[in-house]
């Protein structure tokens, strides 16, 4: 279990994260959503052990992160950063193999895992390309393969921390990435992802944590955590939650705002949502 207990992160006098508690069980997937500057990435960095919280503590398997050795920690959790700046001409295979650095058991096994991880993210055909020649989306998938390879197998529960894993991907690859993460969760890996797309979060996460101004304002299944009231309070937009007509998953439909309509909306904004819902 990866657990944050009342953690705060302060930078100078500003609190980026305040009194956040969060529990991630193995096999579970949690999405962190919230507006820009809400502290999502900071929270993820605290959960990964990259930064130490100024108050509270983060526990992995009941032991504080600071008391794990870096290598032990690297075998228990992997982190996909928002964007990676790798300007050296490694082959894609070499980049993915770097995910095996904390293990260093058998080169043959590492090679098999790197290969399987590349296949899982649908990038096996890139294996021999130079990383520097890839497009942004391809790079993102290769980095995902690298972090998957890092926690591919192990005796203890493992965790996957993703910071906006779908940021530079097209629609198909967004879905594919989330499906991969979900599949990893099914294999017993705890997954926590920072996401901007509320619908991706609603579709793929067991639980959603809504962050605003460093605080958790809502947490739970999508239907409880992404209500129109919460979305209005946090993002300042009108939206309603409808059920996907075929897949039964919750869908968040933001209302488009046009300047000439502003007057109308300010008086009758909420009714548009309930109307949509009734239909």
């Amino acid at each position: 279990m990866l657990e944050a207990q009342d953690i705060s992160v302060e930078r100078g006098r500003r609190a980026l994260v305040r009194d956040v508690s969060l529990v991630l069980e193995p096999g579970q997937s949690v999405a962190i959503v919230g507006p820009n500057g809400a502290g999502k990435t900071t929270l993820l960095r605290a959960l990964s052990g990259e930064i130490a919280p100024t108050a509270g503590k983060v526990l992995l398997h009941g032991r504080e992160l600071a008391r794990w050795s870096k290598e032990e920690l690297a075998r228990a959790r992997a982190v996909l950063p928002q964007s990676s700046s790798l300007d050296f001409p490694f082959t894609v295979g070499e980049v993915v193999l770097m995910g095996r650095m904390p293990h260093g058991r058998s080169a043959r096994r590492d090679m098999e895992i790197a290969q399987a991880a590349l296949e899982l993210v649908g990038a096996a055909q890139l294996a021999d390309r130079l990383y520097t020649t890839l497009s942004g989306g391809e790079r993102q998938r290769v980095q995902l393969a690298r972090v998957l390879a890092q926690i591919w197998e192990g005796d203890a529960p493992r965790y996957l921390l993703l910071d906006e894993p779908t940021a530079s991907l097209d629609l198909a690859h967004q879905q594919a990435t989330m499906r991969t993460a979900r599949r990893f969760a099914r294999r017993g890996v705890g997954v926590v992802a920072v996401l901007h797309d509320l619908n991706l979060a609603a579709q793929y996460a067991d639980r959603i944590v809504v962050l605003s101004d460093g605080r958790v304002v809502a947490a739970g299944p999508a239907r409880d955590a992404l209500t129109p009231d919460i979305i209005r309070a946090v993002f300042g937009i009108e939206a309603c939650m409808i059920t996907h007509p075929r897949f039964r998953s919750p869908l968040i439909a933001p209302r488009a705002w046009y300047d000439d309509e502003l007057a109308n909306v300010s008086t009758g904004g909420r009714s548009t949502c309930s109307t949509a819902h009734d239909h």
């Binding site: 960095r45 982190v79 950063p81 295979g93």
Partner: protein, 358 residues
């Protein structure tokens, strides 16, 4: 299954190619070293040079004793010093480029070289009466030691300056290096201004760089620094690879980033400081060597570092051999030759990088 087995083919092939490249470089090094032993005002046939070495090792071969003395007292220490300085500079360049995650970085950027230069010039000017050109024993040690101290102090300062909290920020470190370079430059300018004519000539001579002063004594003074650095640098190779992904990413992979960077920088300061101290400023070996090598064997430091040591030694020995023969019987400072080849290479590199970016 076939597709699975062959998909990582190039990655595996690359590993084989690297092994071969290292073996080839080692062979090239032996050849260049032998060539470098042979050419010069007193020319030797390679087999004659080999015969002298073999005799030293106990083989009973007939050689001219006067020529043997030239080879052993002058040529051999020069070649060994050149190999060590070349290897040290090249490995230092490769490591710096790794730490800064910038293929254009160079040990000179961090201020080691200019700090060392300041130390040397201060020693020449403040040392006053000691005539560098005449090389009394005191000056032989005094000036290089001052250069080494200067290099170490500036590196320690830049490192400390760039530390914010528990981390070292590469950008701050680079900018601090630029400031140090400017500061050292102005201090050297001032010292040059107050220097006497004799001191001026010593400064000019020192700053051009050269291996001509190599003796077994200088070799003995340089060897511990450079060899320690060379032996220890491969131990940070894995960490440097991870560092190329980014500092946070390396940390997530279980690498102690701060310790890797600290060790790498101190070792670089050791090899660059000691090299600059005893041979003056020899430019571009640290920049050019890792680049040439990356084109052949890729950026993996586990291969790049030993490869850079071998190729750096080859390049400097070749440049020194050229410096000795081009204007014989006089000789050019080796720094002139390396800059002549290195600077256009650097410009070509810049142009290529710009084209790529577009």
């Amino acid at each position: 299954m076939m597709a699975e087995a062959s998909a990582m083919h190039a990655t595996e092939r690359l590993a084989r190619a690297r092994r071969n490249a290292i073996i080839l470089l080692a062979a090239l090094f032996v050849a260049v070293a032998l060539l470098s032993l042979s050419v010069g005002p007193a020319a030797f046939a390679p087999h004659e040079a080999l015969a002298v070495l073999a005799r030293r090792l106990g083989f009973d071969l007939a050689v001219d004793e006067r020529r043997e003395a030239v080879l052993l007292a002058i040529r051999l220490p020069r070649v060994l010093l050149g190999a060590m300085v070349g290897a040290g500079l090249a490995v230092a360049g490769a490591v710096m480029q790794g730490i800064f995650r910038n293929p254009l970085a160079d040990p000179g950027l961090v201020g080691v070289s200019s700090g060392a230069a300041l130390g040397a010039v201060a020693a020449i000017v403040v040392g006053g009466e000691m005539n560098f050109a005449a090389r009394p024993t005191s000056a032989l040690f005094f000036i290089p030691c001052a250069a080494f101290a200067g290099g170490l102090i500036t590196t320690a300062f830049v490192l400390r300056f760039a530390r914010a909290g528990a981390r070292t920020d590469a950008a701050t470190m680079l900018l601090a290096g630029i400031a140090i370079n400017a500061l050292s430059g102005s201090a050297i300018g001032f010292l040059t201004y107050i220097a006497t004519d004799v001191q001026l000539r010593d400064i000019a001579f020192w700053s051009l760089g050269g291996l001509s002063g190599a003796t077994w004594t200088t070799l003995l003074a340089v060897a511990p620094f450079v060899l320690t650095a060379l032996l220890l640098l491969p131990r940070v190779a894995g960490g440097l690879n991870a560092l190329l992904l980014g500092e946070a990413e390396a940390g997530h992979l279980g690498i102690d980033v701060e310790s890797v960077k600290r060790r790498a920088v101190i070792l670089v300061a050791l090899s660059v400081g000691a090299s600059v101290a005893f041979t003056g400023a020899i430019g571009f070996i640290g920049l050019v060597t890792p680049h040439l090598l990356r084109l052949i064997i890729g950026p993996d430091h586990r291969w790049l570092l030993p490869g850079a040591a071998l190729l750096g030694a080859c390049l400097l020995l070749a440049a020194d051999a050229a410096a000795r023969t081009l204007v014989a019987p006089a000789e050019l400072p080796v720094g002139v030759v390396t800059a002549l080849i290195g600077a256009p290479f650097f410009l070509w590199l810049l142009a290529r990088n710009r084209r790529r970016a577009v």
